[in-house]
Assembly symmetry: C2
Homo-oligomer: 233 residues x 2
DNA sequence: GTGACATAAAAGTCATACTTTTTAGCGGCG
DNA sequence: CGCCGCTAAAAAGTATGACTTTTATGTCAC
């Protein structure tokens, strides 16, 4: 589910990254490359490359004569998709899900407003298609199929915004939606009101109504926040 | 200005990263580690570690028997502070500044609203202090001093929001504000209206008025967007 | 007690040999 | 003539060992 093992490097990186983000090595811990090489039965070469990547994520800091130190949580590069995945797979999944949802609630309405201005006809078509797909799968325990359309819908909105920073959040949103469906209390069919809102957003974008698209998406966001008890009902 | 040379690795990474982001090696270009090692007069070891980091930023993709390929721009990890710095230093600085400003305009109002709820007394004090500092330096060509307070102000807001994703955008905002002051048409003193808005945001946060803090920050954002002609005047 | 110095520990760098994957070319076979 | 499979080579991946550089720490002299 996480990452396929294409090489030793990938495997070790994933294992170490997960170990650090889940707190197995709490901030301040010191690792030695030689020990890691032994622990994972790989050469120092591989460990060094992994450490360099971890360092580029600000997860660790490597200093001579002292070793590889785990940095404080506030320093993590929390926008790195791999860090997000590790944290979602680890212990503070709820916390992570919350902060990501808040981020979504800030970004997606603005992105929808921009999408209403910039979306290509093809993107409008795609948007409507995904919204209709959501409607079609919203009843009768088709949660997985619904999820696919939901993810695609939000991804199109972010891409259509024409802003590269927004577009790159597509993966993050996908992770959040997947996490919600799989690990949250999601035994029931999706909220019909939310489904309707998505259809209306698609209409607003197609109709070039930026204000309406933004406002409707804000309502979707409010729903997501309520689901996590971040907002009072 | 970019990064101090603490080691060969850092130097090569910076040089290669900049070369790629500025388009010296356009997407699709293929690099060979041996050639790079020669070009930078370092060992293959160093080059490989650099490539691994670049790969973790999704700037390149390394495949056996083919080499290191530069990936398409849409795949870049544009939230990586280093990528942002490289792009701001390179040729598409204006484009980068625009997308970052749009991101700010989405995030900061929400962050300010949350700050009004979560800010500690210490953060409220700091916020007021920075706002007053902005007032004090807003006249008489003290642009550098003003910038320091401006950056600090926005950083406190993002931190006070209590959301780690927002907090991590402090560096991004700092880069944008710095870029605007240094490379934009910024010969005049700051807009008095903007200064007043900052003071009012500080007041709103201290007064726990989330709605007002959000709305005021939205007005600041609108000003920033107008400055870059992203919004009609 | 303080400061200079020596020591050693750990990362950083390099060179080299070897392995694995994958592309591309070549030749055989239908 | 074309397609398939085999082979060979190219490039990254991995391992190892020797050596360099930085720097924390302890020691010794003052």
């Amino acid at each position: 589910m996480t990452t396929q093992a294409q090489g030793l490097h990938t495997h070790v990186l994933d294992a170490l990254g997960l170990a650090i983000t889940t707190g197995e090595y709490p901030p301040g811990s010191v690792l030695r490359t030689d020990e890691l090489a032994q622990r994972f039965s790989v050469s120092r070469t591989v460990v060094r490359e992994v450490v360099r990547v971890l360092e580029s994520m600000h997860l660790v800091e490597s200093r001579r004569r002292v070793g590889v130190t785990v940095r404080a949580t506030e320093q993590w590069n929390v926008y790195d998709p791999r860090v997000i995945r590790w944290r979602l797979a680890g212990t503070d999944r709820p916390r992570q899900l919350r902060s990501l949802t808040v981020l979504r609630s800030a970004v997606e309405p603005v992105a929808a407003g921009l999408a209403a201005v910039h979306a290509t006809p093809e993107q409008c078509r795609e948007l409507t298609e995904q919204a209709l797909g959501m409607v079609a799968t919203s009843r009768g325990r088709q949660l997985e199929a619904y999820l696919v359309h939901d993810i695609a819908f939000h991804r199109v909105v972010l891409n259509a915004s024409g802003n590269e920073m927004f577009a790159r959040l597509g993966d993050v949103v996908a992770e959040v939606l997947t996490g919600r469906t799989h690990h949250q209390v999601m035994f029931e069919d999706p909220d019909p009101a939310a489904v309707t809102l998505h259809v209306q957003v698609a209409e607003a974008v197609r109709g070039r109504d930026a204000v309406r698209a933004e406002e409707l998406t804000r309502q979707i966001a409010v729903g997501a926040l309520r689901e996590l008890d971040i907002l009072a009902p």
